[in-house]
């Protein structure tokens, strides 16, 4: 059905940012312009490489790249399939924007050790693209752990006691998770004799007892679920908020958490498959966890006054939308989940960009201090408004499209309870976002410092992401053919069509 | 006959070993160790290992004994246990 082409392009897309690291380090603190130029060049090439594969993938082709063998019968193997493409496109596009934004942010905020910052950032992106193109579990694991490690210095960046505590917490959650994943992978290999991701799953009920397979599933979900912020193993995420804002944006919209949900998608759709999940009953269990998480997270988000923490809890909630779609695993829910993976990224990164711009300009982090800010920073707050409306699911912005898919998925799975939870969570989203927008624009506050917008390097990216959210909301199939890609992978995994 | 000789030598060697370990004077302990080595050398000869016996007499009883004595002169003479 699918034609696979040998190509070095997936590998190049990974390696390009890794190659930039020595250049970034060599340029050092003394030549910041050259250093940033390397980052931007690498980001542009990476995005170009990823997009160059898009037309063929849309035509049903996949690109594979088999590097050297790393374990008997298992190679470091890459494959650009539709699902991988979705994640890779999100990561590479937003890296480009985040790079511009980062430059403005770290200079505006006078951050120290910028070389280490940009180098870690480049490594993160290598790992992220590696995760999206990984063709088997071991390759996935290698990049997954690399991502964990590359993010650690970023969380630690400020080197305050709070940052150290956050970084420690981050490791305390992600390292055990990695080990659970490793064990699960080893067991899977023992059972199935292969580690390749295959749409529809590689395991089946005859390989082990139901109980064993359930334990295996739990191990997998523990492994990837920590990064995906599933409750009750989500609490590293708000703690990691001490990182500089572009890092938070990267962690929460692009790389780490999306790697987690991407892992959930790979596990449910490509390791277990819809049939086995249904037989085991674990799909429903996971859906319930996701449902509870998305409700609880929205409630918790309302209580936060720190803007970034509120965004963090909102992220926890929205990740569970995707997990819910992956757990219900039918054509509609899968389409919705993969779309939400993409669309949530554009919206959430807009919000984080805004939070960072506000911080750099005014040094304010609490929502209660932001009364009347809309007059001072109109572009920033307009973008913020678009992002939050989208997350609440207002039609016309891309969040609506993906939520529609998820809701239809809940209906198709004949689980109306989840439809209810989705609607409830949309209302809660509105309840915790609208007050911010409202008080920014419609409340008078003459005491607010008249500082104006942040630097164009920061404002431009956040306007672009907001515009993207709008554009994809009106025409989800434009440009990158997001809708089509999501449909392709949903058809491959579930065998059904919309 | 050889059995009795061997038995006697064994017993003597054990006695010498115990003395070497329990003498409070380290010089006496070193001397006792030499005696022990010499007795084992005789034992080897009695058991038919003539070459080993000579070797042990020279190296075990002789060289080791001298080394111990020199070491005792360079360090301390008395031992607590």
């Amino acid at each position: 059905m699918e034609a696979a082409t040998e190509s070095i392009r997936p590998f190049l897309a990974i390696i390009v940012s890794m190659l930039a690291i020595p250049l970034i380090v060599a340029s050092g603190e003394k030549r910041p312009n050259l250093r940033e130029a390397w980052t931007l060049i690498a980001a542009t090439i990476k995005a170009g490489l990823v997009f160059s594969m898009l037309p063929a993938v849309l035509a049903g082709e996949t690109f594979t790249c088999r590097l050297l063998e790393i374990s008997p019968g298992v190679a470091l193997e890459l494959e650009a399939d539709p699902l991988g493409m979705i994640f890779a496109i999100v990561a590479s596009t937003l890296w480009l924007l985040t790079s511009f934004y980062s430059i403005g942010y770290v200079r505006g905020a006078g951050e120290h050790k910028q070389t280490r910052y940009f180098a870690s950032f480049a490594l993160c992106l290598s790992a992220t693209i590696g995760i999206s193109f990984a063709a088997n579990l071991l390759t996935f694991f290698v990049f997954f752990e690399t991502l964990t490690l590359a993010t650690y210095p970023l969380v630690l960046h400020k080197e305050t006691e709070e940052a150290k505590a956050g970084a420690r917490k981050y490791l305390c959650y992600t390292l055990p998770a990695g080990l659970a994943l490793l064990t699960a992978i080893a067991i899977t290999w023992g059972l199935a004799g292969t580690m390749d991701f295959r749409a529809g799953g590689i395991l089946n009920g005859s390989m082990a007892t139901t109980g064993q397979l359930r334990i295996l599933f739990v191990l997998f979900i523990l492994g990837v679920g920590v990064k995906a912020g599933l409750m009750p193993i989500h609490s590293w995420l708000p703690a990691a908020m001490v990182a500089p804002t572009p890092v938070s944006a990267l962690l929460h919209a692009v790389a780490v958490v999306k790697a987690g949900v991407f892992g959930v998608l790979r596990v449910t759709g490509f390791v277990f498959g819809p049939e086995l999940l249904g037989d085991l009953g674990t799909g429903t269990a996971l859906a319930w966890i996701a449902g509870i998480t998305l409700t609880m997270a929205s409630l918790l988000a309302m209580k936060q006054d720190n803007l970034k923490r509120r965004l963090a809890y909102s992220t926890v909630g929205h990740l569970s939308y995707i997990v819910l779609g992956a757990a219900l695993i039918n054509a509609w829910s899968w389409t919705g989940a993969t779309l939400h993976l993409m669309f949530h990224a554009t919206m959430k990164i807009t919000l984080f960009f805004c939070a960072g711009a506000i911080y750099v300009r005014t040094h304010k982090v609490n929502i209660s201090d932001m009364v009347g800010i809309g007059r001072q920073m109109p572009f920033t707050m307009t973008a913020f408004a678009i992002g939050s409306l989208g997350l609440a699911g207002i039609p016309g912005i891309n969040g609506f499209v993906s939520k529609w898919g998820l809701a239809s998925g809940a209906v198709a799975a004949e689980q109306p309870i989840f439809l209810g939870l989705l609607v409830l969570s949309g209302i809660l989203n509105a309840a915790y976002f609208f007050p911010i927008v409202h008080q920014a624009f419609f409340k008078q506050n003459d005491a607010f410092p008249r500082l104006g917008e942040a630097s164009p390097l920061m404002v431009a990216p956040l306007c672009v992401t907001a515009a993207l959210s709008l554009l994809l909301g009106v025409a989800p199939n434009i440009g990158i053919h997001a809708w089509e890609l999501a449909n392709l992978t949903a058809r491959a995994v579930t065998g059904g069509a919309i | 006959m050889i059995t009795q000789i061997c038995g006697l030598l064994f017993v003597l060697a054990i006695v010498a070993a115990i003395v070497a370990l329990n003498a409070k004077d380290l010089l006496a302990a070193a001397a006792s160790l030499s005696v022990f080595s010499f007795l084992t050398a005789l034992l080897y000869i009695a058991l038919g290992a003539v070459d080993v016996g000579f070797n042990e007499a020279v190296l075990g009883a002789g060289v080791t004994g001298v080394l111990f004595v020199v070491a005792v002169f360079h360090t301390q003479r008395r031992s607590v246990d």
Binding site: E69, I70, V142, L149, P176, G190 | -
Partner: protein, 492 residues
């Protein structure tokens, strides 16, 4: 078996080197290092050449003095021994690069004895690996041990005490090994490994055999510092000079591990192993050792001592692999011989450099060092990540094979320990990393060590990464042909 003089090449070179070093040292003290360097470079070339020849043409043998085995002493080299010889010599060579300045500053009066002893140590170790005779192995065992005691004793003021304790326990271990060999000789009337291996299957069920094997394994475990016989190691590593530790820690315990593999898997055949419960005992003791070593490492405040305890844990990984004895577990064990040698020598070289530069050795005094010694700590970081087992470093893959081996053997508790121990390792390494990188210490005056030391640290650090990525090439090309046919992966 091809008759060749290659097997005695490395020991002879080292023997000659030691003698020349002492002689030249009488005239010029500074000649010791260059001579040692030349000898080790030559040894490395010979050992690598030997490895290539063995892989291409099969096992080599050399009869000492022309006497045929089993009476005469035979040097027999197969893939495994050629591999371990190369590891020993190459790691020692890299450490030697660091040693020039370090020895001159740490133990200035003992430069000549140090380098001579170093070569004697390597002579003993390569001899242990290359010999095909059980008693001859004991002799080399003692040669390497004696040189090791002396090297440890050359360190700080406390070093002789730890060296003396090491000597007592080491001789005990050697004596046990000798007793084991004695019993084996009683049973088989032969000391040649190949010969003994062909006689042993007829003796299955003989209780004396169990005693013999137990004694040999106990003696070797002591030298390998396998739990609970690891008591000598932490003190010895802590108080020895940095160069001595950097040589002894990575390779000495590994050679004992090699001998254990040789005895359990080459001298004994599978049916025989099944009747002796040595394997599972070793596996369980080693698994306990992983936990104990890691927990003790967390409790230390001295970095060198922490690394010493982590050695106890890491060696226990090899023990687990040997104990499980499945094809995957053995790959894990042999690969870990190499990967642990690489990363541990790197770590000890870094602690040595820090001590030389700043005199610091406690955990909290490492604050801010990452900024002033960037290259050194880049190597350190790589090695530490490998110790934790982060992919794609070498340390990850050896553990990965151990996990696969454990699953194959159905030993779930051991799998769990191997996996979970990574967390303990991460516990003490990330604590240190945080200090190194995240706590600036403005008053710190230090910089990267000299070019030679930097090269060795960086080479070892990079080696960890290269070995990890290319691990399977290595497993397939070197380790698989080196293992007995019954213990290879099927289909390779």
């Amino acid at each position: 078996m091809i008759e060749s003089t290659l097997p005695i090449g490395v020991p002879l070179l080292l023997l000659g080197g030691a003698i020349v070093t002492v002689g030249a040292g009488l005239v010029r003290r500074s000649a010791a290092w260059p001579i040692t360097l030349v000898v080790l470079v030559l040894s490395a070339l010979v050992s690598v050449r030997q490895l290539l020849v063995v892989l291409a043409e099969g096992p080599l043998t050399h009869r000492l003095g022309g006497w045929p085995p089993p009476i005469g002493i035979e040097f027999a080299v197969d893939g495994l021994s050629a591999f371990v010889t190369s590891v020993v010599v190459v790691i020692a060579l890299l450490v030697l690069l660091y040693a020039r300045d370090a020895v001159r500053r740490e133990t200035p009066e003992e430069e000549v004895p140090f380098f001579a002893l170093l070569q004697v140590l390597l002579l003993g170790l390569t001899g242990m690996v290359l010999t095909g005779d059980l008693f001859n192995l004991y002799v080399f065992f003692e040669i390497s041990s004696l040189a090791g005691y002396a090297l440890v004793g050359l360190g700080s003021r406390e070093a002789p005490v730890s060296a003396f304790r090491y000597l007592l326990l080491g001789s005990l271990g050697a004596s046990f090994y000798l007793m084991g060999v004695g019993y084996l000789y009683v049973l088989t009337g032969s000391l040649n490994m190949a010969d003994v291996a062909s006689i042993l299957p007829g003796l299955i069920g003989n209780p004396t055999l169990t005693i013999a094997m137990t004694m040999m394994v106990a003696g070797l475990s002591l030298k390998m510092a396998l739990f609970p016989l690891h008591g000598w190691l932490p003190d010895a590593y802590t108080y020895a000079s940095s160069t001595a530790t950097a040589v002894i820690a990575p390779i000495m315990t590994k050679v004992s591990a090699y001998v254990l593999i040789r005895v359990l898997f080459f001298v004994c055949d599978p049916a025989l192993r099944a009747t002796i419960p040595v394997g599972s005992t070793v596996a369980w003791l080693a698994a306990t050792g992983i936990v104990v070593g890691s927990v003790m490492a967390i409790a230390q405040s001295d970095v060198k001592r922490m690394l010493a305890y982590s050695s106890v844990a890491q060696v226990a990984y090899i023990g687990v692999g040997i104990g499980l004895g499945t094809p995957f577990a053995l790959i894990g064990a042999t690969l870990h011989i190499l990967s642990h040698a690489t990363m541990k020598s790197c770590l000890f070289l870094v602690t040595g450099s820090v001590q030389l530069q700043t005199g610091r050795r406690s955990l909290h005094s490492y604050e801010g060092l990452g900024r002033v010694m960037p290259w050194t700590f880049a190597g350190f970081t790589l090695a530490a990540l490998a110790m934790i087992g982060i992919p794609p470093t070498a340390g990850f893959f050896s553990k990965w094979y151990l996990v696969l081996g454990g699953i194959n053997a159905g030993e779930w508790p051991i799998v769990l320990i191997v996996v979970a121990s990574s967390l303990l390792t991460a516990g003490y390494f990330f604590r240190l990393m945080e200090k190194i990188y995240a706590n600036p210490s403005p008053s710190l005056k230090a910089n990267d060590p000299g070019m030679l030391a930097r090269i060795s640290i960086m080479a070892l650090g990079a080696g960890v990464l290269v070995l990890g990525v290319a691990n399977f090439w290595f497993v397939g090309e070197v380790l698989q042909p080196a293992l007995p046919a019954t213990l290879r992966l099927t289909g390779m």
